[in-house]
Symmetry: C2
Subunit: 345 residues, 2 copies
Amino acid sequence: MSDNRTEVSTLGEFGLIDHLTKNIEIQNASTIIGVGDDAAVIDHFGKQTVVTNDLLLEGVHFDLMYTPLKHLGYKTIVVNVSDICAMNATPTHVILGLGFSNRFSLEALEEFYEGVYAACEKYGVDLIGGDTTSSQKGFIISCTAIGEVAPDKYVKRSGARKGDLLCVTGDLGGAFLGLTLLEREKKIFMESPGVQPDLEGEKYIVGRILKPEARKDIIEFFANNDITPTSMIDVSDGLSSEILHICKNSQVGCVLYEEKIPIAEESRMAAFKFNLDPTACALSGGEDYELLFTMKQDDYDKITLSEQISVIGYITDPDAGAHIITKGGGKHPITAQGWNALKGE
Amino acid sequence: MSDNRTEVSTLGEFGLIDHLTKNIEIQNASTIIGVGDDAAVIDHFGKQTVVTNDLLLEGVHFDLMYTPLKHLGYKTIVVNVSDICAMNATPTHVILGLGFSNRFSLEALEEFYEGVYAACEKYGVDLIGGDTTSSQKGFIISCTAIGEVAPDKYVKRSGARKGDLLCVTGDLGGAFLGLTLLEREKKIFMESPGVQPDLEGEKYIVGRILKPEARKDIIEFFANNDITPTSMIDVSDGLSSEILHICKNSQVGCVLYEEKIPIAEESRMAAFKFNLDPTACALSGGEDYELLFTMKQDDYDKITLSEQISVIGYITDPDAGAHIITKGGGKHPITAQGWNALKGE
């Protein structure tokens, strides 16, 4: 952050929005009206429109003590883009609503928007609305993302069928381990403020929590290889929770193989240091923003083209329930402990 | 509010959303997927999509001491629907994000949603996403509204031209006077908790602030009578501020006649009681959610069909600036004092 501090009040609300949005470059032909009117107008003729919204609150979803505002801006866009991708749609537009108290300077907001613009550029989306408001306390972020999909090509959580393969992209558990590390360093800092954080060698897991990416590349891979998943969801609350969502919504059961769950070597190392089970981190940690999906067995050959996709199990009858087969050969029901449960350990 | 109190935590996050959204009845054929997936899908084939978002914060935008949650839910939808109408578009969908601390019970949230559903029914919009999250403090509402408009029939703030008539719907200043009354009663109550509020005879102005309506009827009137305004904005920050937005965005000036500004008799009476100038309330008070628009003089005959529309002035060259001609014949520049300035009086 720069040393300069400009009070937001010197610009006024409308001046602030003008200032923060003046450098927007429109990337989508479908953007007819962007920031600066009562509403934005988009044109998705011949396509269906996909919309999602997320509310992110300081102290609940992020801690500004170890989250740089630029990263937070980037992540805000990524989290919403990820939801659009999870519908097998292409993200096209975002609208931001920000609430902040007067402890935030203009320079701080500019930093946040820098991250927003970086993510918009990376994912090819246009910021078409930017509302700001004062808050009594804390930083409040509301983000709406919009995408497009060819008619009826969207993928819901409810389409998984018996015999389908259960797949996931990238690797899991890293974001939770990154958060664990940052929380530990924060605690040390609070107790001995002179001590500087030791994040050496932990770049991967810290990056997973502070600067995640959405799997738009996978949506493009699906399109290029003529793959339509039967169901899909993004991994924001942990693998267990997402698998149970698909099972519930599709009214199916599943078998998951522990040994097939993709976990990065950096995450295994970190888990070892923290005395955590890497599999538990993948199952119950969240915020990896990978895609969990099911597909017909016939499409198996097509996905072997991507190193980013792991087959981790298969779909069964609902009566069979949702189970994990551990490395030792044990069979246990999958339970949705989620992030919060793990945090409490 | 009911005497029962159910802790939200007994349902869990997903259970809560299920509970609050289980009775949704879809009203629009364009709603393909609503609540319950990563994102919603809508189909506006052959139309353009209009999107807006508002963030409403307890203590900044509303005071729960005198705002019933049901009214707040209703108003949340109205405020966003109003922005869609201000684009000359038809509202079709809304997405809600709610943050609340554990002081809110399930019954309180149900009450809020009752108001949301009442407004959705009234305006024919579908709730297609409902995210909830815990907050450390206060009630936080993020609402995204979506609408549709025939290709290129949207109306921006920037289309006003010299000679156009300046018009406004309904009447102005009532919401500000209602708020003034409620703030006064709150102050009395804080000083002498035994005293019950005296709102008798003030139903109109209290209704204007607590349960405003969006002018969807005017958009329908425009369509039925083949009127396309040249520019439009909704009156959320006060007439002065909105007129200046249109002048700035359209690069024009204007003349506004004080005597033409529509003010309800109930508002005049209340202003008299509070020693306030009714015109100042209309100019600088906000939240009336009426529509301010400009149109070609040729369309004048068409708007005389509606008693809900007042011609209050006309558009001039930009060099002439924006002025108000007072009842006494004086000519003064229009300044955007807005709501906050008036509040401080």
